[in-house]
């Protein structure tokens, strides 16, 4: 099963063709960490503050599993 990746706010504009309704289906790479996935997407890990794997927060070094749902969020502070 592929990984399902959902991007938030500014990250959506950094991945060409991203559709917020469907997210991205990406090939599962055994042994890849959340950070590895972020780099594969061409995003800067320093600008990502919240990583959610299957709805729970995760660290950059968390190893991903087949079929994981990954949400990536930059800081959001506006009011």
């Amino acid at each position: 099963m592929p990984l399902l990746v959902k991007l938030s706010t500014t990250l959506r504009k950094q991945v060409p063709g991203y559709d917020p309704n469907t997210g991205l289906d990406l090939e599962f790479v055994p042994g890849e960490s959340a950070e590895g996935l972020i780099q594969r997407l061409g995003l800067d890990p320093k600008r990502i503050k919240i990583i959610m794997v299957n709805g729970r927060s995760a660290a950059l070094d968390q190893e991903l599993r087949d079929g994981d749902r990954v949400g990536l969020f930059p800081p959001v502070g506006g009011g």
């Binding site: 504009k13 503050k49 800081p75 506006g78 009011g79």
Partner: protein, 284 residues
Amino acid sequence: MPELRRFLAPYLKQIPLPEGEAFYAVSLAGLQALAAERGGGLKQAMLDCLEQGIWPERFRANRGELSAQDQARLLNSSAAVMGCGGLGGLACLLLARLGVGELLLVDGDSFEESNLNRQMLATPETLGRPKAQVAAQAAASLNPACHARGEVAWIGPDNLAAMVAGRQVVVDCLDNLSARYHLEDACRAAGVPLVHGALAGMEGMVMVIPPQGPGLRELHGPTPPPKDHGAEVLLGTPTPTPAAVASLEVSEAMKLLLGRPGLKPGQLLHLDLGAPAMEILTLG
């Protein structure tokens, strides 16, 4: 007939319910007459009526979701709203309409033209006026039983303790993470629950931060990210998003005031008006 109902008779309306039941609602004129008779003020008149199951007309449509005891509890509650712009400008109006009895509204800024797209209290007439002062006037004028005080001040570690002390809930309607971290620290020190809300573009986040429990550091790291890293810098704060996030914040604040279950510690409500979608994420 109890004495209160006899006194209020000219001002009472019987509201029928399904299956032959009914309840009484009292008009503002009746509450004012009662306040004049007993000398306790409008809020006390409302409390006296609610105790007898008589609903002030202005709160009648809250009935059903709220009990008379719930409504009285809100009238006896005190909340602070930090920031009176996009989020806070609506949050303070909703809290006043909800019937929260005491509101402290804090903002150091004044309205400017670029606020007009989203900030409820920004109008061509209020441009240049301090947001906190406009907010307090608006809340008091919406609900004269609400004691609303505006404080024109920029918040920081030096002045927050006095602002949050004694509140039952604080609503975070600020516009930058650095100030939000200070607010969270002050609320933890005072033992007051904080409702956090933030937005960028068409997305928003809401979290309830209890005095002990996960908060902004679990969300964004040990130190606040620089202001220019916030997604709102690029995506702006368009018209619909602050209203949606403020409404969710007030809903969580109401549940805290009433002792009802709401968002649990460590749960992050993520709202995406673009999709649209709403999901609950879990920290830790």
